[in-house]
Amino acid sequence: MDYIVWKDLGPLTRLVMNQLHYLGLLFMIVAYSYKIYQIFQYPSAKEGTPPRGDHQKAIRYSYMTLAMPWELDTQKHHMYRYVEFALFHIAMAVGIGFAFILPMAHEFMKNSFIIGFSKLFFVLGFLIGISRLARRVYSPAMRRISTLDDYFCLMLLTLWMFSGILAAPLKSELFLFAYYFFATFFLFYVPFSKISHYVYFFFIKYYVGKHFGHRGTFPKKGSMPTVKNV
């Protein structure tokens, strides 16, 4: 089958890909800006004691723990879940990158390496999505903490990944439309949903790092204090 000819795309696909998709991005930026503004309206916890540790180092450590599963005792014992977590999030990043680069550089995206690379992550994202969904449904502990929004987001992301597998070869307008339909829907829905955690992450990790760094708790495993003159 041949690649999609860009100028032959139907008006609906064009509308979603070139207009609604970017409108969604704009909406998301505005919505998040407002959300962040709202958060900063809350007073911050005050800290006036002299520090015992290094704030900067601790804040860096706080962010870095995301890539250091051995620093989290529970992740250390569930490496499989960490790998799943990492691959799933990389797959999401590939999906977003694919959606935004394609309208601007469709010829470049026809490169077989890029298609293969994207497809690989769409497949991984899809499989991990199913595994995570199964875990949410079958594990009583996970079921207990799952809201309808949690299920909805995960199902939709998994479907999006599935549409990505079909759309990545760039040979079917229908699949491409489905892929952009999901991507666009997400841009409008995400600011309302639990997926927003990726934005809050940057703020909360800063505060957590600063708080524990101040007390010399982060980076974990305190170092010996210097000898004072008694």
């Binding site: 709202q38 958060i39 900063f40 809350y42 007073p43 911050s44 916890a45 005050k46 800290e47 006036g48 004691t49 002299p50 015992r52 540790g53 706080s62 989290l72 005792d73 529970t74 992740q75 014992h77 569930h78 977590f85 875990r135 009583p140 502990a141 996970m142 079921r143 207990r144 903490i145 799952s146 809201t147 309808l148 929004d149 949690d150 909805f152 309302f192 949903s193 639990k194 997926i195 927003s196 955690h197 809050y200 703020f203 909360i204 990790k205 505060y207 957590v208 708080h211 524990f212 007390r215 010399g216 708790t217 974990k220 495993k221 305190g222 010996m224 204090p225 000898v227 003159n229 008694v230």
Partner: protein, 590 residues
């Protein structure tokens, strides 16, 4: 929509007002990923899905979502948003935040997003406490801290009396009749601020610390006021109480013009006094430095002011990291530094430091007797951890942890086989400073007497021993008679009560688990009768539920306690202490 109760409305309102930026981020950032599930000892021990940190927090998070989350306001069911509506829901929340979370922060350390569940628990506790939703023990201790200035309601006389008693003990141990425990010494290098448990029930850690200060030749003082380092502002989430307790200590230290404040081994004591209370009480900047006794001991060892001989502690020792020290104060290496030099065989507990499991007595849990059963059930995680070390002694740096771990050891029957003894003994729990003091090389070392002969003033005093086990009665009777006391006995609560009235004992040693009238009933009746209310009571028990008498204090608290199996040295020390103090008090009154 259901009509909300008055309390529910008040809760929702105060929740809205108290939420700060860090809380909001912790509420909003949770992705319900479940990574933290296995970090919580409540979930690990029970497997109950309601006990994961996220499940517990969702009960609080639902209020935030109902109040602030966009979707939560539009489609509450979709995201699990709901304000509190009834008094029953408040009780349920009380059970979660007081009875199912010790605020240990292990889940905070294990959340990839940094959600601080313990901070959210603190927020919920503060809103509940204001409405009177809190365990009785928490309320009583808060009242004592507000009104008397310490968590065990100890009067100034009793406090000074205990210090005098410790002073006399040390005079004898040091062979120095001029030895004085300095009180309110102006301009001293540091003021030593302690946990009331050390004053009221177990002065061994005080003696150990004073011994270290004495042999290191330090310039220090105790304060006659503001001496309590514990702070139920932390456990109740009430910053006003937290600030009040901090300021009591800071103001007295300022008056004494000391350069430093040293906090005895207490996890939440150090956390509150050093890190939280200066902010709560708007006391920053303080004109002195605040450090832990552990840091001071490291310095003393490093500069050679104290020399340790590890062979004096030959049995295997492990260390339990108190949550507040390891996760909220960064104190992890100091105790290890001391123990590695004070003991021959120091063994790590796995996991440790910031990953350590809670002793299960944190967050004020020791004062909440209504949750004792659950506390002991979830302590299985800690018990397994301790058992694997094969240690004979569990050292820790917190008085709450000492009590919590003692209960764990008792409940899970954790024993060490000393080879020379027939039955393996229950593991010993102690503070780090006790092992350091035991390992100190002292010039012209004074030999410790195993059982100190009673002072003349208390010789011949009458002790009523109440226990349903004949062997125990005989054991205590022999020990006390040999030490010069008169002993009368009773093998149940009913007879005990009669003898308390007819024999007029100077002290009662009391078992708790007895057929018929339990020790708890006996104690309440004894204290409620004018005739017997003032007889000092020393509880000697294997049952853990006696702690309610220490914290709930519907009647005056017992004067001492000890867990079975009986350590003769500790038994005699406590009997001496109680009787000497009571003789002194009577002399003063006369």
């Amino acid at each position: 929509m259901r009509q909300k109760s008055q309390n529910a409305i008040a809760f929702n309102e105060s929740f809205k007002k108290r939420t700060n930026r860090q809380h909001v981020l912790s509420f909003a950032a949770c992705a319900h990923c479940g990574t933290c599930n296995d970090s919580c000892h409540y979930f690990l021990a029970t497997g109950d899905p309601k006990m994961t940190p996220a499940a517990k927090m969702d009960k609080i998070r639902q209020v935030y979502k109902a109040q602030k989350d966009w979707l939560g306001r539009l489609m509450p069911t979709w995201v699990g948003a709901k304000e509190i509506e009834t008094d029953e829901e408040l009780l349920e929340l009380q059970d979660i935040v007081f009875g199912s979370c010790t605020g240990c922060r292990r889940c905070t350390f294990n959340c990839p997003f940094g959600v601080d569940t313990a901070a959210l628990v603190g927020l919920a506790r503060s809103c509940l406490v204001d409405l009177g939703y809190a365990p009785e023990g928490i309320k009583v201790v808060m009242k004592d801290q507000w009104e008397i200035g310490n968590q065990m309601g100890i009067s100034k006389e009793e406090y000074l009396d205990t210090l005098e008693w410790v002073q006399e003990e040390l005079q004898e141990e040091f062979g120095n009749p001029d030895y004085k425990v300095p009180i309110d010494k102006k301009g001293a290098d540091f003021v030593y601020v302690v946990n009331p448990r050390e004053i009221k029930y177990d002065p061994r850690s005080l003696q150990a610390a004073f011994k270290i200060f004495y042999y290191a030749g330090l310039d220090w003082t105790m304060g006659s006021e503001g001496w309590d380092n514990t702070n139920f502002g932390l456990f109740s989430g009430k910053a006003d109480l937290g600030g009040h307790m901090g300021n009591l200590a800071y103001n007295h230290a300022k008056k004494l013009e000391v350069k430093r404040m040293i906090i005895s081994e207490c996890g939440h004591g150090l956390r509150s006094t050093k890190w939280e209370a200066p902010n709560w009480g708007k006391a920053n900047p303080l004109p002195f430095e605040i450090s832990s006794l552990l840091e001071l001991m490291v310095d003393l060892i490093n500069i050679g002011k104290i020399v340790l001989d590890p062979s004096k502690n030959p049995y295997p020792v492990t260390y339990h990291d108190p949550c507040n020290l390891s996760r909220s104060c960064g104190i992890t290496e100091e105790p290890r530094f001391c123990l590695n030099r004070a003991c021959v065989d120091f063994r790590e507990m796995i996991p440790n430091r910031g990953d350590s499991y809670c002793c299960t007595g944190g967050g004020g849990a020791m004062s909440m007797s209504e949750y004792t059963g659950r506390r002991l059930e979830v302590a299985k995680v800690k018990a397994d951890q301790i058992r694997k070390t094969g240690a004979a002694i569990v050292a820790t740096a917190c008085h709450n942890c000492v009590d919590g771990l003692s209960d764990v050891i008792k409940n899970y029957n954790l024993r060490y086989d000393y080879r020379d003894s027939k039955t393996p003994s229950l593991l010993r729990v102690c503070n780090v400073c006790e092992l350091v003091a035991e390992a100190m090389v002292i010039p012209a070392e004074i030999k410790k007497t195993a059982a100190k002969a009673p002072q003349n003033a208390i010789k011949g005093k009458k002790v009523l021993v109440i226990d349903d086990e004949p062997d125990i009665i005989v054991f205590i009777e022999t020990l006390l008679t040999d030490a010069g006391f008169k002993v009368v006995t009773a093998n149940d609560g009913m007879t005990g009560l009669e003898k308390a009235k007819t024999e007029h004992p100077d002290l009662i040693t009391l078992d708790i688990t007895m057929p018929g009238k339990s020790g708890i009933q006996f104690f309440r009746e004894l204290r409620s009768s004018a005739e017997t209310a003032n007889i000092p009571v020393f509880i000697i028990t294997g049952a853990i539920d006696f702690r309610q008498l220490m914290y709930q204090k519907a009647v005056q608290a017992p004067d001492g306690f000890m867990m079975k199996p009986i350590n003769p040295e500790v038994l005699l020390m406590t009997v001496n202490k109680i009787l000497e103090k009571s003789v002194r008090n009577k002399t003063v009154v006369n």
